[in-house]
Assembly symmetry: C2
Homo-oligomer: 385 residues x 2
């Protein structure tokens, strides 16, 4: 049964090598004249991408104000500085050049710039989002799917809270995906990206009766393609075919297509992981590689048949636990951590993590299932060797 | 390799039983005050759907002018009457209530109402489409995918030409999909719908190197789901689960997701079929069930490996021809014609059909491949017993 749903994803995707040259025209043709250029570290400057983008904007009469220095697990304080800058300079749009963290911070700035109130209240679910500046991006890392959805995840470093917003106003107007830009993503972040893309489709697949076999098949198609292309990339990082296929697959993994018709699903792996990256600043995908196998082992008895399906369709193995173990072994193979200790987190930290997750579970509306006892059990799976 | 592409599908889908009650609000909230209500035969009146929609429009202050009587293979003359009515009455939008033919005619009216010139010139590729009235629809038959793409196919009955337009202006603003409305679709049209949905994904799958395994997998997922759900519906026409899964699958089959990253594909089965329905007014899906197996047999030697993949992944058989035969056998099983004679078309008509297709092939830009000789060969496969 396909459950009731609304699907509305208006983001325009421009995909291909060199397509960043389209950005000036896309902004100018929509009447934008001054944009906040959001980026991360110096790599986009060193690679020459930033100056190419700036020249292209200038050629189309689009002025820009730089807001660089976004970090992985983007920080509320830096986001707030971007909001202040956007307001002071009266920009009419935001343009992210970078990976998912840069896009996420750009979205939060876009919301904050139009908000009358505290931005973090939106992340706490206490303030509605009623508008945002139009969002554009040039993606340099394929992983989060932020380029084609309305989500943004920000870390409030003072409170050690890593929370999300999701709003129709946060869909990018235009996202430019040039797979050649992702060829320089190093092996570790390539692995984390693969884990993240798998996490996005695995959540609904295992947390609710899927809407139909179509949805199951779409998810399995995405996971198999992520595994296949990542294996190719690990052997040959400059393989443009695999990089491009991985890039579009990661977008489809969280643009609403796989969850349309699936009702009542949730994102428990993301709930659990966000506390790891909030507390220890590890990469989101690295944290997910630790959380997913543990969560799957804990969750398995609740839905044996879907785990059997997963084992059979994705890994060609017959029993449900073997499917989980195959996924875990693949995470290890590509160099992702699969235990807390692999990320340097000692067992003595478990109570701290449990407390952080328990607070978040309230905000996510998942506290009824993810009690401190349950979270502890899952983290123990993530701790055992 | 994923080839360069632009994906931009802004249609809002509202899916679920009873969701037609949303239509007045969707129109009114966008400022529409007077719409052209396009529908087909009396069944939508008899079922009570039309009066429910009219009451809902009235409750939201949206006036309407009726344009009923759209037929399967919608006619240019009737479309032109709709254009004249839309202009005379100064409607600000069009609302289709019906199946793919009704949506297609509504799109053509939306284009014609804003056009300075002859509508058919757009279908001949001789006049650009620069605007259209906003298009809304409530879908009663799942098949064509028109509810989430920019295509419209119209029959010029005077010239016996069945041609298409494709324009960004022809994406519906909002499409409402209520799977319960499709439970009354009779067995023959259910079969034709299944063939049509399969045809939409099979075209790119077999006419060009697919962009990557992801695209292959998405297509196979859709075909397997169409087969599975149609078999269920044939046994139990009121099976809402299967009707709903079929409905969304048919939408995904032609909304651009399966072809993103696939370059240079074409729609030869549609080219060939349109002449059958133009000349003999048979249902489009019925014509496709005749054309597809014939075209596949002719095309098979050119791309053996993809046919082997199709055979293995969709039907679990090993050789390429068996895959084609399995599909043909399934068409027969669900009651679709698979030979010209099954549709009452004698072999003596082949030259007439070839001439009609040859003219169309010029307009479609496929005349270099689909010469009269090739078309004749394919039609001979469609004729042999």
């Amino acid at each position: 049964m396909i459950h009731d749903f609304v699907f509305h994803n208006p983001t325009k995707i421009i995909f291909g090598v060199g397509k960043e040259e389209k950005i000036g025209k896309e902004l100018a043709s929509r009447g934008h004249r001054k944009t906040l250029l959001v980026y991360g570290q110096e790599s986009v400057r060193r690679s020459g991408l930033l100056s190419r983008v700036q020249q292209n904007l200038a050629a189309h009469g689009v002025d820009f104000i730089e807001h660089g220095g976004v970090v992985s697990n983007p920080l509320l304080s830096h986001t707030q500085a971007g909001v202040d800058l956007a307001r002071r300079e009266h920009v009419d749009s935001v343009l992210a050049v970078g990976g998912g963290s840069v896009v996420d911070e750009a979205k939060a700035i876009a919301v904050g710039a139009k908000l009358d109130g505290e931005l973090w209240d939106c992340f706490l679910g206490n303030a509605p989002i009623r508008s945002a500046l139009p969002i554009f991006d040039i993606l340099t890392i394929a992983a989060t799917g932020s380029e084609m959805n309305g989500n943004s995840v920000i870390l409030n470093e003072r409170k050690q809270q890593k929370y999300a917003i999701s709003s129709p106003y946060c869909y990018p107007t235009v996202s430019i995906l040039n797979p050649a830009l992702t060829c320089s993503v190093p092996a570790d972040y390539t692995a984390y990206s693969a884990v993240d893309a798998i996490a996005h489709v695995i959540e609904a697949y295992f947390t609710q009766e899927v809407g139909g076999n179509l949805q199951n098949r779409l998810v399995e198609s995405i996971i198999k393609t992520v595994i296949e292309t990542t294996d190719t990339i690990m052997a040959d990082p400059n393989h443009l075919g695999a990089r491009s296929e991985f890039m579009w697959t990661a977008t489809l993994a969280l643009n609403g297509v796989t969850t349309a018709g699936v009702s009542g699903f949730s994102f428990p792996n993301h709930l659990l992981e966000h506390s790891l990256s909030a507390l220890y600043r590890i990469a989101h995908g690295a944290g997910l590689a630790i959380i997913i196998p543990a969560w799957m082992k804990w969750h398995l008895p609740q839905w044996e048949s879907q785990y059997q399906r997963f084992a059979r369709e994705v890994f060609g193995v017959n029993d449900s636990l073997s499917g989980v173990q195959s996924l875990e072994a693949w995470f290890k193979k590509i160099g992702a951590p699969t235990r807390l200790a692999d990320a340097g987190i000692p067992a003595s930290e478990i109570p701290t993590i449990v407390a952080n997750i328990s607070d978040a579970a309230q905000v996510w509306g998942l506290a009824n299932v993810y009690t401190p006892e349950v979270i502890t059990q899952i983290l123990q799976f993530a701790n055992e060797q």
